[in-house]
Amino acid sequence: MKENFIPEPAVIREIITQNEQIRTFRLELQDKTKAFTFLPGQFLMLSLPHCGEAAISISSSPTALPLIDLSIRKAGKLTAAIHEMKPGAQVGIRGPFGKPFPVDSFSGRDLLFVAGGIGLAPLKGVVDYCLFQQELEEDSVLSMTLLYGSRTPSDIGFQETIKNWQEQGVDCRLTVDIADEKWQGDVGLVTDLLDDCTITEKTTALVCGPPIMIRFVIARLSSMGCTDEAIITTLERHMKCGMGICGHCHLDDKLVCVDGPVFTLAQLKTMDVMELG
């Protein structure tokens, strides 16, 4: 049976508008008997009628299954098309693909999340997953801090989520590049927020955002004493198959779709990646 490239039908149950550019699409597999699970950091290949496929990271935690969130910024043809869709519409998914964040190694760690823009999407699942573990008091993390940078106050996504996280004890600090008259918070790059952070040997930093942001945040974390193994990021690359065959995300002797997209800085340093400049 030639089944590798056949997507599984899924239904959009809910759409949450994060800002003008980003919406979260809450999906559920049409066939509820189908076994499906994943870990934070993994991604799906999303199919839309007449649009083909795109690689999208899962922004929810597996603890929220059977619902699966995809937070999508309007960037190309497919992403623009899903922004026009309504709840009840049908899409196709293949996956999950890729290596997840090493969530099993987070117990007893202080997690420092550094995100820019849509970069919060793949990290969101990790925060939700760790909060769930904390509630169970099982292998839980010591603390969670989020540094989140957006271009302007109206670009800040996931506001509802961030409010909930704060109530659950996640230390969330927001900054914008350009303020408006109503903005009371920090203004400046997300790296500036690192000034008030302490890095210890218990810190694990999870970084995701535009390549230029990743580069400067990593450099700053390293200078603050964070080790290469304790800095984790996730790369975005053009992908077609998602399963290590098509070659598009080839990175030296690695393939981002199977060896990543989650990499430690120690791993990245062995490769020629633009995120490190």
Binding site: N4, A75, Q90, G244, I245, C246, G247, H248
Partner: protein
């Protein structure tokens, strides 16, 4: 070399044997067309087809096992929803007259399409194939398979290997499927005599001495494993690359592909897999236009390092089979042998 079976096929029996095989399966062989081009083609009529075993086929088996464009699924958008249907099953195919380099390329494709996930569409075709190779007694002008350890004769991997020893073929069965074929049609063959073995060995030694190109593949590989990437070479080569993708298309081991949907009408379409080339600028470009690879200086970097460095690190062997097809296709003169020559010419740092 361990073979399951060895026999001799008198040349007069070749066409009668192929006639029998063609009754049971689709038969593909190198055929010279009206324009003088030799291409692997399906044989519809053995009496009229000009099976050309003297010239190097301009194409490899890649277009058969990984078609230039392939339907992966048909999709439907209607009241029933958004549904996909896989394509039909494949038919049994016998490939005859395949050169050692091209069989080596098939073994490489077997690897790529099986790890970490088995590509069901590729293997649907591969499992229905039987490959009969023809050892090369006369390497062609651009050949360097000896330097890539993929010829002129093969040690393993074929179902059957034919070696032309004059008025007959020395035949070795490397896999069960090949041995079964010999059993099934045993009356076409005779037993191997000592002089057949001697003739075969003599021809192999002579073939090895007939290569005209000296391409230092092993030297280049060792250097690429140990030394920093040769940045100056990329820039020099990239200036002469015109982004045509020809090298990747004729290459029997270039398997990168793209997936796209083709809309047929409002309610249906096709999901297609098509050949792609990592040398082209759009290969790594993401939605929104961002591109992590600077093509001006790195147009050829991926392709050459993938074949000579990364695959060596990942699989323990290079993925260039020395077929030499990219040499004639590149009008910029920046084929893989140019790169190997430049890498090996640099003084050790």
């Amino acid at each position: 070399m361990i073979d399951l079976k060895e026999l001799i096929l008198p040349k007069d029996n070749l066409i009668p044997l192929l006639r029998k095989l063609k009754k049971e399966a689709r038969l593909i062989a190198p055929v010279q067309n009206a324009y003088g081009d030799t291409l692997f083609s399906e044989i519809s009529d053995l009496d009229s087809a000009h099976i050309d075993l003297d010239n190097q086929p301009q194409s490899s088996l890649k277009p058969f096992l990984l078609p230039q464009q392939e339907i992966l699924a048909r999709y439907q958008v209607d009241k029933a929803g958004y549904t996909f249907t896989p394509p039909e099953d494949e038919q049994e195919t016998i490939y005859f007259g395949v050169r050692s380099c091209d069989l080596t390329a098939v073994l490489y494709m077997d690897l790529i399409f099986s790890k970490p996930v088995k590509d069901t569409n590729y293997y649907a075709r591969r499992n229905q194939s039987l490959i009969i190779t023809l050892g090369c007694n006369h390497p062609f002008a651009n050949c360097f398979c000896e330097a890539t350890a993929s010829g002129p004769y093969l040690e393993y991997g074929y179902d059957l290997q034919f070696i032309d020893i004059g008025d007959c073929y020395f035949i070795s069965a490397g896999r069960i499927k090949g041995a079964d074929l010999l059993d099934q049609w045993s009356y076409f063959f005779r037993e191997v005599q000592e002089e057949d073995r001697k003739a075969r060995y003599q021809l192999l030694l002579e073939a090895r001495g007939k290569f005209t190109r000296n391409v230092q593949v092993a030297h280049a590989c060792r250097r690429l494993q140990k030394e920093p990437d040769p940045e100056a070479i990329w820039e020099a080569l990239s200036r002469r690359c015109y982004d045509c993708g020809g090298c990747a298309y004729v290459c029997p081991t270039c398997t990168c592909f793209s997936l796209d949907d083709m809309v047929l009408d409002d309610t249906q379409g096709l999901r297609l897999r098509s050949w792609d080339a990592c040398t082209s600028s759009g290969f790594t470009r993401m939605a929104g236009g961002h591109n992590p690879v600077d093509r001006r200086c790195h147009a050829l970097k991926r392709r050459f390092l993938h074949k000579l460095k990364d695959d060596f690190a990942r699989h323990g062997k290079v993925s260039c089979t020395g077929c030499g097809r990219c040499i004639d296709i590149c009008f910029g003169g920046v084929d893989i042998t140019t790169f190997i020559d430049l890498v090996t010419a640099v003084e050790a740092s």
